[in-house]
């Protein structure tokens, strides 16, 4: 079983700032982390390999510093990692990004399953996973909360809905996007980190994946961002209640009643 897990480096903050000119997220000076939803995708890939054997490859498109999250993936236990990084990839929207990732998956070859997190916490679109499947012409299942069965020809998964779940069986090769309920991600070990620091991470350019220049970067991005702005900050206040447990409970009760919460 050859599994590719697509991961993304995102700003480590919920207070992302937006450049008013370019309408893009300002990433300079903000700590970058592995997209939290992608930790579930990595864990699922590693667990499937532990169960069925094979290889897990972490794949990411981003600036050179995105190498850090690929090292983290290696520390967690993936077999190898590949970075897609080039000036011509910059400015790609979700469609162009999914095209680049799909081209890289073709280049890897003989891939049975692609796993993505349900969405990235910066863009929040949840479009890249399905976009990759569309570019590859593969079957897909989104919002997967459990992998129930995997064979050499198909995968059966449980998909989460707002009002329940459904179970679907799709043919391999396929792509799935996973939600938090799918597993509990492991954290990297010291041994894993020390191993990962010694590994080479190849950097692929457009020509390595036979990407058509008009389909990548700003040129290949049909999305037009007209306006983007952060939501107004939340108005929160903390009130400390002092006294004995009984007094505190009574004060809290009065407070909640005065606000019509109870």
């Amino acid at each position: 079983m050859k599994i590719v897990v697509c991961i993304k480096q995102v700003p480590a903050t919920n207070e992302a700032k937006i450049d008013p000119e370019t309408k893009r997220i300002i990433r300079e000076g903000v700590k970058a982390i592995l997209n939290p939803f992608d930790t579930y995708a990595l864990e699922e890939g590693i667990q499937l390999r532990e169960k069925f054997g094979g290889e897990v490859i972490a794949l990411s498109m981003g600036p050179p510093k995105a190498e850090q999250i690929l090292r983290e993936a290696l520390a967690l236990g993936v077999n190898r990692a590949i970075l897609l990084s080039d000036r011509n990839f910059a400015g790609s929207d979700t469609w162009a990004t999914s095209y680049v990732l799909a081209q890289a998956i073709k280049r890897i070859g003989q891939v049975d399953l692609v796993i993505c997190g349900k969405q990235a916490i910066d863009g929040d679109t949840a479009q890249v996973g399905p976009g990759i499947a569309a570019h590859l012409g593969w079957e897909q299942a989104t919002y997967v909360m459990a992998v129930e069965e995997l064979s050499s020809s198909c995968i059966r998964v449980k998909r989460m809905h707002e009002d329940g779940y459904d179970i679907c069986k799709i043919s391999l090769p396929a792509l799935i996007t996973v939600v938090k309920d799918v597993n509990i991600p492991r954290v990297p070990t010291l041994k894993g980190w020390l191993f990962s620091l010694k590994q080479d991470i190849p950097v692929w350019k457009p020509e390595d994946i036979k990407a058509v220049k008009t389909k990548i970067g700003l040129n290949g991005s049909p999305t037009m961002v007209v306006k983007i702005e952060p939501p107004p900050p939340r108005q929160t206040r903390t009130k400390r209640i002092e006294g004995t447990a009984r007094e505190c409970a009574l004060s809290l009760l009065r407070e909640l009643r005065s606000r019509n919460i109870i």
Binding site: K31, P36, P185, P188, W193, G243
Partner: protein
Amino acid sequence: MIHHILNKNYLVEVLPPKQDSENLEADLKKFCTRYRKVIDSGYCVCITDNTMGNLSFQGTEIIEEFQLSVLPKQVMIHLNTFHRKDDLDNILTTCHQKEIEYILVITGDGSPRLPKLRPEDVNFTNIDSITSVELLSYIHREYPGSFCLGVAFNPYEPEEHELEKMARKIKAGAKFIITQPIIGRNKVLDKLINRYPQIPVIVEAWMSKNINLLSQAVGYEIGLKEEYDPIANLKLLHKLYPGCGFYLSLLGFKTQYDLLKDTWI
């Protein structure tokens, strides 16, 4: 823990490197140097567990990787409730194999990367969330007689609530208590000592001059009229609490360490 009090041995906190360290090798080297220094002084080295929810390396894995010596009564690890079950068991098994006797069991702080133990992980069915009390019970049940388990005491929490929690911790098998950082006389701490005269109490001394950081750590605004002098506070605590042990957090290894030998007389 009474051993440390009778022999005037400090418990010295050493923070393991964070996982997002930009210079991991240097940070690991610094950790190992500090660890060895504390051991060589005859003190007890205390290794934290993902403080304030920051993902860091476990003390047990650094001890294993760098083959750091574990001398009797000289190593303590903190253990909180934010672990996967298999990771928790790995830590406890390593402690047992390495003969790490002391474990400070705390509820701890979580973060998106730190999963909380689920009640079913530690065989509890009638509760919603795991605290240090359930973790204590689990360790006692699964590793009977292997460890000397301690718990934390926070005098900045509402007193009645904190003392009630302490009663449950003692009932669950806590054998020593380590306080949150204390500055000067603390009436809630006095009550604790009077209530449990048979349990060794270790007073935490805040060794950084940064009081704002302490306020953040305990979640309570600690306003001081004068500039905070950590060494003067430590000396004062020795006078006020002569029957207690002392846990030093954020100790300056370059500037303060050598002063310690003349402090606990």
